[in-house]
């Protein structure tokens, strides 16, 4: 089992005050947290360092959260994305689920709930990666192997 500290979380939100504060609080709860302030930044970030879980706002300047989610799922399907928004409607929730979002939370969210969800999401990611390996032919699923390797 890995240490909690090693769960890599990327917070994506244009509300700097909010996202920084939340980052501090999550760090206090032994998570690795990085913050970016819009969709583009988020996408360029995950191309360099792949987080385990992304906490994503929907209404942002530039790329909309939903677009970002779609991109992420194309780039790295294993990364679990939790939507955390103050604007979400039921339709957004459905759409997010359809695009492979892990969960849909509304601001203001309880910190303990959020942490719990992040952890769930992390385990989900691990599970999926393992399943992928199990079903994959030797050397076919590089991404999955890479993940497993890393986890080991």
């Amino acid at each position: 089992m890995k240490k909690k500290k090693e769960i890599k979380v990327l917070l994506v939100d244009d509300e700097v005050d909010f996202v920084d504060t939340l980052a501090q609080r999550l760090k206090m709860r032994e998570l690795m947290v990085a913050t970016v302030y819009d969709g583009e930044q988020a996408l360029s970030f995950i191309k360099k360092i792949e987080p385990d879980v992304i906490v994503l706002d929907l209404k942002m300047p530039g790329l909309h959260g939903m677009e970002v989610l779609r991109e992420i799922k194309q780039l790295s399907p294993h990364i679990q994305v939790i939507i955390l928004t103050g604007h979400g409607t039921e339709k957004d929730e459905e759409e997010a689920k359809r695009l492979g979002g892990f969960d849909f939370l509304r601001k203001p969210a309880d910190i303990d709930l959020l942490v719990a969800k992040i952890k769930e999401a992390y385990w989900e990611k691990i599970e999926r990666a393992m399943t992928a390996i199990a079903f994959a032919e030797e050397g076919e699923l590089d991404t999955a192997r890479k993940i497993i390797k890393k986890e080991e």
Binding site: E15, D17, F18, T21, M28, G86, E90, R106, K107, I111
Partner: protein, 563 residues
């Protein structure tokens, strides 16, 4: 009877009466004209007779040819008149009278001819006598001559007076003269006797002539007089007849026409009255149908029209009422929808700053917990908890507003409404016990399972029953009833015996943020959310309330989903 017939009858009566009147007047005038002709003829005859008589007198006086001629002329004229009398006039006079008149005239003429002969004879005899007298005078002499001269004096007297006395004197003188031995004297006597006979005959004839003339005269006079009287009578009769006819014309005509007019006008007037009533909006009046004429059929049509109009008005009124109700519902729904949109917009915008407050306060709490004790640590911690608590309350509001607190998308399943009600009651058991409230369940046993969203319905029941619990006093009563309303609809009613909701507040209870509870106790969203849910489920919710008696919420839920 038809109006046309009635009018024809009215006019016909006048025309008939006028025709009868005209006919009578014509007949009367004809009679008068005939009579007038008679009078005229009678007048002409009278005049002619007068002329005849004038010349008769003249002739008898002068015994000359001219007067005789004139007399004959006028007699001819008279005869011509008599002959020219028309047969109808003769009938009027009487054929016997007419013939008698003719006979009298011809007798008169004969008599006259006779007297003319008589005069001629007299003249001859007189001449002979004078000659004989002269001859005797020349023969006689002396005493005898003297006697004879006496005779001649008596002869002159006789020729002058022509009467019996003078004749007797003459005869006496002749006898006493005793001259009969003379042949001439004997002849003289014979001549004288014959002359006297002629005189006597003349006298008789003249009397007869006068008599006949008078007869003719009186006859024509009578005729004329009678005709005048007749004409007078006929005129008077005609006038009377005309007067009566005129009176009959006026009185009968007026009566008949008035009756006919009333027969036409009365139903029309009635129709007019009812038409006015209908125009004023009273469709209840009906016309009494009498007979079979146009008025009756008009009445029937009118009555049908009245019935149709009334039906149309009733259905129209109903439709308008429904329309108003529908409109009010739509307005209410639209109002709630726009309120909901505004509320949602506000809720969205508030969520972000609320999240920042939440995180900052949370961070403060985090830091505080990691810090060593200091003088006000606990107080700070409480203050932060206060902030977080308020944030949570705000979150409850915004999330409830947005339907975030629970899912709001409908999941239809086959469910038992009674079961849902019982579950909700069980869920609220603590509060019910705490307030010592009686909750009666009147379960509709025949209620079928329905296809709806159990979770959402339970949410609605929960909201309303919770409100009821808040509303009633300790020991209050809440009745929850389920029943089947019709084949498509199930009905749940929740009745409390609380204080009731005033009318002006009742109409706002489904609006968001509207609450009758004291500040801080209610969000004012429970009923709004319930309303939205019921709409989503294709049903509806309404509330009835009476001050002092309580409030009833009625929920109608489609048995099969309608969305």
């Amino acid at each position: 009877m038809k109006i046309r017939d009635k009018l024809l009858l009215g006019f016909g009566f006048y025309i008939l009466l006028a025709a009868i009147l005209g006919f009578f007047a014509y007949m009367e005038l004809r009679t008068i004209t005939t009579r007038l002709t008679l009078v005229e003829i009678a007048g002409d005859i009278t005049n002619t007779i007068l002329e005849v008589r004038r010349y008769e007198k003249n002739f008898l006086l002068y015994k000359d040819k001219d007067n005789l001629q004139e007399l004959k002329n006028y007699l001819g004229v008279l005869k011509k008149y008599i002959d020219s009398i028309k047969s109808e006039v003769i009938k009027e006079i009487g054929i016997n009278n007419y013939n008698m008149m003719k006979e009298t005239i011809s007798e008169y003429e004969q008599l006259f001819d006779a007297i003319v002969d008589n005069f001629r004879s007299q003249e001859k005899i007189t001449t002979s006598m004078r000659a004989a007298g002269g001859k005797i005078e020349r023969r006689l002499t002396g005493r005898e001559l003297e006697s004879f001269l006496d005779i001649r004096r008596d002869e002159k007297n006789l020729m002058l007076y022509k009467d019996q006395e003078t004749y007797d004197t003459f005869i006496r003188t002749l006898n006493s003269a005793n001259l009969d031995r003379y042949e001439e004297v004997r002849r003289y006597r014979i001549l004288m006797t014959r002359l006297f006979e002629l005189y006597r005959y003349e006298k008789d004839s003249i009397d007869k002539i006068r008599l006949k003339a008078r007869e003719i005269q009186s006859f024509t006079e009578n005729l004329s007089k009678k005709e005048r009287t007749d004409i007078d009578a006929v005129s008077k009769r005609s006038m009377r007849l005309l007067l009566y006819a005129l009176l009959a014309f006026i009185i009968l005509g007026t009566i008949i026409n008035m009756r006919l007019a009333r027969g036409i006008a009365t139903p029309i007037k009635r129709l007019e009255e009812i038409t006015k009533k209908v125009a004023a909006g009273d469709f209840s009046e009906r016309i009494e149908i009498k007979g079979k004429g146009e008025i009756a059929s008009l009445g029937i049509s009118f009555n049908q029209m009245g019935t149709r109009l009334r039906d149309a008005m009733e259905s129209l009124e109903l439709a308008i009422k429904r329309l108003h109700e529908k409109q009010a519902q739509l307005v209410e729904a639209e109002k709630l929808a726009s309120l909901g949109r505004i509320a949602a917009g506000v809720a969205h915008e508030i969520n972000n700053p609320l999240a920042i407050i939440n995180e900052k306060a949370g961070l403060m709490q985090d830091i505080l917990q990691m810090s060593a004790d200091f003088q006000h640590k606990e107080k700070f911690s409480n203050l932060i908890n206060g902030i977080i608590g308020s944030v949570n309350r705000c979150r409850t509001i915004t999330h409830q507003l947005l339907g975030f607190a629970r899912r709001i998308d409908v999941i239809v399943e086959l469910m038992d409404l009674n079961e849902a009600v019982i579950e909700v009651k069980g869920f609220l058991e603590n509060e019910i016990l705490l307030k010592n409230i009686r909750v009666e369940l009147n379960i509709g046993e025949d209620l079928p399972k329905i296809k709806s969203d159990k979770v959402l319905l339970e949410q609605v029941f929960l909201n309303i029953i919770k409100n009821a619990i808040d509303a009633v006093e300790e020991g209050g009563l809440i009745e929850v009833s389920t029943r089947i309303k019709d084949e498509n609809t199930a009905q749940v009613s929740i009745k409390d015996n609380g204080p009731g909701i005033p009318r002006d507040k009742l109409k706002h209870i489904f609006e968001p943020f509207f609450t009758t509870k004291e500040r801080g106790k209610g969000t004012g969203l429970g009923l709004f959310v319930s309303y939205v849910i019921m709409k989503k489920l294709g049903g509806f919710i309404l509330a009835e309330s009476e001050i002092g008696k309580g409030t009833t919420f009625i929920l109608e839920i489609p048995i099969q989903p309608r969305f």
